[in-house]
Amino acid sequence: MRQNDIVPWFGSAVSGLAIAACLAAVSPANASSIRAQQPAAGEVQQLEAVVIEVHGSVKRAPVGVKASEKAGWTPVAVNDRLTSGTQIKVGMVRSDVVLRFGDDTVVQIRKMSLASIDDFYRDPEKQTVRLSLGYGAVRGGSVESELRSDLVVDSTVATLAKRGTEGLGMEVEPSTMYFEARLTRSGLLSLLSALSRNPRTIQPGEYANDDNVDMMPVEQKLFDLEVKFYSDESKSEGEASFASRNSTGNAVLSPASGSEAAFGSGQNDPDFVSGIIDRRDPALVTPPPPAFVIRPEGDFGVPNTFGALLGNLLPNKRLDTAGRTLDRSHIGKGRVPRRR
């Protein structure tokens, strides 16, 4: 079977996303009709995808035509039938196309995407759909039918879905190849990174991207919380390292310097921090601060600068760096401010 690489600049490091939906349940109502369509043993029947919705600028061309060229591309219309070896490019804004593969699978190729249909065929055992996603975003799903159905989308990572997956989605950023795969409704996805070959299971309501795909499976909520509370821009190097080793499971990737070192140092002991405090010299231990304390650097993102600014607006009043009011009349050349 043909496997087209629509983006040659991917290079060897970027090889593929695969979303596979395997459907096994039997629907008695349409079982007989599906059996009638099944090819004989050993026979492979090539099929065509049907365009069921088009919005905005969507064009198609045989695989091999460059996306940035105008020649060779023709607009896609509803009810067009697309064969294997067709690539599709979708415009940047207000554009998308929905394709139906047989009776049980739909795929929406979203704006600013370049994708191709590599294979769509049916053999006696299953129906196979293979797409290449150069960049952009796809989403869609499958419902259960008599025939097992495989849906594979090649891009940066590989994902496997089993038993009627609905609400799967995949996004790949051009040139940087950042990716994100998600499952919004039901089913199960298994994501396989082409670079690290690390699998990752995605359950409904979860997503995985290049940030977390190589990490030990953790609760998605925990991952989000970690990201939410410690955004990238606010982390110091030490905090990022600590969070990575203690809350994301990243340590398992480097056993010699990760979790083993952390366990060896006792950082995972719940009494680790309190133990350090207890071992300190009592003379050096500072008493716990009161509930509200004015610190020179400000509290909770409200720096004292605002207080000083407000203070300066008042006549003859000014706040010093500790937030205390100064008598402005004493501030002058060669005179030392005197606190009230």
């Binding site: 940047m92 869609g140 040139s175 990238d232």
Partner: protein
């Protein structure tokens, strides 16, 4: 006297370093093809293959994002149109082939998408100090663009993907009438 002169020297040096540090290093890029000869879809996919993006190209892409369609315009016309809408800042003095950084990109997305900003964003927008930086934080918080430093130069692919996500944001928030619906199952298209 000597002490006063020394103080003024320190002040002058600090100001000079500050001004030099805040100034923008102009990087120019000559694309291999004139984007004005390309139609909308070809333009977008051509940009996605570029290592960086010029200000002229970004102005065209942002107008496309804001209006959903485009008409042929010159560079000066695009800039004037964006400035009149408040999407491009008048203090920017970029040439057509100047390369855009993440801060400029984020600011234009921020203004086009009418993103709500926090107090720092509003203050920075009012004073004009650091507004690109805070716009980048807001846009990154909405997951339209990945966080990076405001002076970093994004690739063409990053820019186009960010603009596509911004278009999703506009559609989700009803800023234009979208016929697109979320397809998650064959049942969604029946």
């Amino acid at each position: 006297m000597t002490q006063t002169a020394g103080r003024w020297t320190v002040v002058a040096m600090t100001a000079a370093i500050g001004i030099a540090g805040c100034s923008r290093t102009s990087v120019t890029f000559t694309p291999s093809q004139d984007h004005n000869t390309l139609e909308q879809a070809e333009f977008a996919h051509y940009i996605a293959e570029q290592p960086m993006m010029t200000y002229d190209q970004l102005c065209r892409a942002v107008l496309l994002l804001a209006d959903g369609d485009e008409s042929p315009r010159s560079f000066e016309n695009r800039v004037a149109e964006l400035q009149s809408r408040g999407i491009a800042r008048e203090r920017w003095s970029f040439g057509a082939q100047d390369v855009v950084d993440r801060g400029v990109l984020a600011y234009m997305i921020f203004r086009t998408s009418n993103l709500p900003g926090g107090i720092n964003t509003r203050l920075s927008g009012w004073t004009g100090v650091g507004c690109e930086r805070y716009a980048l934080k807001e846009v990154a918080r909405k997951r339209i663009i990945r966080y990076g430093l405001p002076y970093q130069i994004p690739t063409g692919g990053e820019v186009m993907r960010a603009l596509a996500r911004a278009d999703d944001y506009l559609a989700d928030h009803g800023m234009y009438e979208s016929a697109e619906k979320e397809i998650r199952s064959p049942r969604d298209v029946e």
